[in-house]
Subunit: 272 residues, 6 copies
């Protein structure tokens, strides 16, 4: 069960409105790596977690924090939209080229659909969907997903930071950058803890006994001039199972030329 | 530019058809973590890569391998669908309960839409979409995404392995498990290489100088009975920047109670 | 079966073209609450309606009217796009800042995809989909959905009305505002009629005998400082079943702490 | 900001697992009218609400409650999936026709993707998306949306109630039915309160002065044999503005035959 | 403007209900090539058509017919769902294996969501969306799209015809097969008419003067063992512009090795 | 299996960057008819093709070429984005109206999400999805789809050609126009070849013996003033089966008035 506290985790007060920035910040609310993604990903991971105690609680601690991040960013967007221009474009642009650029760049759904509030869509108006998230029941695998989500989210936050010089917006983004820095590490430390607790290896390796014992340490080259084999990934030992990495160059396929059997005539697939 | 070789990277020959398994294997072709995902993710990352040489080439080597994985799995599905029943369900089920279960479990689009071939949809018929993939231009961040995709993909492959005892299918899945084992490490080794080459740190930390210097090492607790603080993520030093992790319990929000300014009257948002 | 009449239900003639307004009006054609939504929602409700006579016929009368509304708005958009600029942006903007703003604000798909015609997408280019509509077979429930759709649609129309001063566009929007005013009431009157005919109560209450008899008149408070209990929704009698509304503050959860049983080992979910 | 309490708002303990029912209950988690829909709809409405006090707080009280409903239903699904069969379909069905039916009816993603936990998808595997929700800034309009969502949600809950006789599941659904009964009324009472406070009329009527004053009380007939005019919606006075409802039969369109001007030649639209 | 006639274009009466067939027939209503696709595609093409007279009218004649096809198929589905089982699966399957297979194969949304009516989703529950349709303003191009849609639609209808022996369903499908046969030819004859009227060539060739005059008649081979060059497409004359088709084997790429310039540092793309 | 060659099939070098054009060119990469569509459509058709030899090889030759087209266009977009402005909009626009227009028109995801590279989305930011493609197993039907895709793709390319005067971009587009000219014919020649080889007729006509023998040559008129019957599609002989085309005017529907049987009471559909 959840409870609400009116105060935001961090202040969301821009120095002045900026409708174009509001459009860009939608990416941080409801983009592929927006706060809605980490919020819903962690909540489902926490609810589905079958191991009681510190893991389940930690996942839900962060998931609960992320609800507040969506709230914080949505509040910022509503404030950035204060007094956004809704005038006839051409007339406005003739009178004021700066305003023309703003009108060209802002998202009209901020007026038409949400009436000056945040939208649950990304910066291009694409609805957020749960195809972005994952909760597999396997903590190592999901913590890898969480590291990636925080890294992508932090990168986007960092890029948007450079697109504004509003001190109020920047203060909030500094907070967000820091949380993403910490959360990346939190999930990496979670992986260390899983290993320490004997619950996982460095990589996902279920059914390990059944995997092909050559192909799990072979780098295949698919471009005659590839410099790929020069990297660490093609030289030295594997990280798990301590094998010398092999290089397959050129690629040697199987005998199977992918021919298919004749089709069921009732399906009218073409056949001779 | 790309070239095609008729032979598959590995054999895709089931011992006998199995329409219900074909339905499940669609998840590995075109699910959130199916081969289409890694194929398109690595191709876009490779094409967008601005650093010439071993990185760009390695990304495209694997991306090119993945095209062949979609081909391999699609071939398997077409073969598993050979002779799949297309009869009237009720009559068939009355005569043969086993057939009834198969008819209940198979995906009718395998007959109606693809005429006995693989579909570009997941096991529930949901179309694959590029909201699943990312190519950010930042290699550390993208390699984190790649580790996660390979881990989730391997886990799903491993689960499906347990759902069949067809030796032909299992042979192919052994190959896939091994490639996912290797590819997880390839991206982890890629991260090591980026660090060795001075191109990245362990985590995404662009604009590092601007982030909040307390919040980047503080664990917030949002549940009074949380065991979250017992984990490594809340004790000891951070992985980067060597700070002692702090615990914020209970959470202390800002002064900002998220009140919004009066709306533009022309938007008809409710206000007193 | 349907028939077509060439004449529009109302005139769709703008005084002059305006490509930026055309982009905004896509929201009224194919947005979440555009004419396509009410058209397809009412048609499916009418086709699925199992009660013959005035209800089925009324639903299909309005559904049929709405096909004509999509036609009317699409015609308007095609006319607004007449002579829309397709030039090189930078050069045009240098010569004419007004044109620059228009070029920045118009939707390039109006040129590239539809060749100057209406698109079946919203103002941000998102395809319309049937996830927006509902036809449940239960008329009370569906009429509640129809009231909501007409209300949201009217609000968006009203906002766009303020974004243009073209008298031709405004004339058509006046017609649309009026139809949405009437249609909101039509569905509210439909609910009155259902009650009068003994076919429904004020709210959806199927399986009423099985619902929890405390929780159907209790307001739960989830924020310590909530002013929520001051409203009519937390004081006085319920609208159905005449009960004094109770306030649960603070919230008292169940004993169930949501712990899950150990997982099936073949699924590789993490467990100790 | 949000806080978490481990205890569920209501118990989620089925008497025994039932994987087919788990599949159906996904509709209540992440269908068009699942708990995710009301949760995200109310949270965005609350965050965007510009009027402080009882309205904003009430919306967020319910929104916060709904987070807990997603949690409660997800927990139920994870428990229903305990020990779900993951065997080879054909062999299992031959041995046990009952199991065959279960295998045919369960969702394989519950094994392959979530490893025995709830999915953020509906009963057919379709991802939840924010195209289902709305937060317009206008409370009357949004409360209409909320009544509709609760009504549809309750109807689906009621139908699923009839599909199981598990007492544990039924107890939880009784709680849910009751909350949907109360919440429907809460939003209807919210509309009464808005009217009492002078903040809205019975229907959305912004820009009222500009709407066509005939078309706002005219029923159009589009089927020669329509019984539509027999209903209350076509007879008597309108609910607002007290006008006698008119009937337009047959429909009389405008003079505008929807012809379009010649196209820009650079767009290669067909023209004579 | 549109009008409705109660009578269906053709009878939609199954001899007896069949919930599994109802699920399959959803593909014909709202699949990628269902009746909704041709309906909305032709309506938008007709509304956007800028050439008055026989073309615009013909497109709208067929578009209007297709609205009636969605109605006809939706009616059939509602009738096939009469008395569909909604019981507890396991118990039902134990008592009756035939029923078990039906329960396994039917779509639960037919009960939960639509209450026994047609859904606006395909056979796998995926919502229909306007990404399936096109109206480009160019009639030759769009008629090519229409031929393709009718061909795919007819093929799916023909496959489903073989999945039932209900004489009522088969009668309706015979009608549909015939309409798809005629409509395929209608669009092919439309292309003949466009050529006869001097409005188009056999293929889309706008901006013809600017295209590369070698690459428009060269077949490229990308597989060393390709038998592709044996076909008519690689030998003889082109259909337009009368050129001898050339074969490029092996493929000879350009000098451009796709290297990209250094990135903007503010985007934190990886670079040396 | 696939292999990669670093050199592009054709040069992708713009004379100078142009972020607004980059946004538009996304339509050619990942729009409904972008290169991703033909790439994935042909690859799935080739992999699913059950007839060995020239057909399967030809389909895969073109499919493989199209992978290279996505690469070529993505490279172009990355180059067009070089040095794209990421500044604060308002300040920049005040200083430079031309820049203001560019800022208003460019896609912010090119900075925020891809860091200056191509996105797998269309010109409006909508993710590409496999609902755009088809592989039915029936070659005649699929070749019809392929003709249509190449025609739409060529039309869009031709329109964008007119939107730039950059000689480098135009050179690449000349190549693309030519390939689309050739590929349209390739699929038309494929249809000729299928007919010559006795594998298909001019149109999809499976189950031909079962179709209604009047409705396969009858044009129905649904608008009293329709000029539709004047066209070739309503006069003369059909293209297959040599029948004189009939005209049905006015439309005569069946006796079936679409009434539905009473509903299952457990579904709470409304009934008297
Ligand atoms: Ca966050
Ligand atoms: Ca792979
Ligand atoms: Ca309307
Ligand atoms: Ca609820
Ligand atoms: Ca049709
Ligand atoms: Ca191409």
């Amino acid at each position: 069960m959840y409870r609400h506290v009116k105060n935001l985790q961090f202040e969301s007060k821009p120095q002045k409105p900026d409708a174009v920035l509001a459009m860009k910040m939608q990416e941080l609310v409801a983009g592929q790596f927006g706060e809605m993604t980490v919020m819903m990903q962690y909540l489902f991971q926490g609810w589905n977690c079958r191991i009681p105690g510190k893991y389940k609680d930690m996942i839900l601690d962060i998931g609960t924090e992320e609800i507040g991040h969506v709230e914080m960013l949505s509040t910022m967007i509503a404030r950035l939209l204060e007094g956004a221009p809704n005038e006839t474009t051409e007339k406005a642009a003739a009178a004021n080229p700066v305003l023309g650029a703003v009108l060209g760049g802002m998202n009209p759904q901020h007026a038409i659909v949400s009436g000056g509030g945040a939208l649950p869509f990304n910066s291009q108006g694409v609805p957020w969907n749960t195809g972005y998230i994952v909760a597999s029941g396997n903590l190592l695998t999901d913590f890898r997903s969480n590291v990636h989500a925080e890294a992508q989210s932090r990168l986007q936050t960092s890029r948007i930071y450079n697109m504004t010089d509003d001190p109020g917006v920047r203060d909030m983004l500094k907070f967000n950058l820091a949380r993403d820095t910490f959360h990346q590490q939190q999930w990496l430390l979670g992986i260390e803890q899983l290993q320490e607790d004997g619950l996982a290896d460095l990589i996902e390796d279920s059914n390990f006994e059944n995997e092909d014992k050559i192909q799990d340490h072979t780098y295949w080259v698919f471009d005659e001039t590839s410099a790929g084999p020069e990297g660490r990934w093609a030289r030295g030992m594997t990280l798990v199972d301590e094998q010398e990495i092999l290089v397959q160059n050129p690629p040697v396929p199987s005998e199977d030329t992918a021919l298919l059997p004749p089709p069921d005539p009732k399906l009218y697939a073409t056949y001779d």
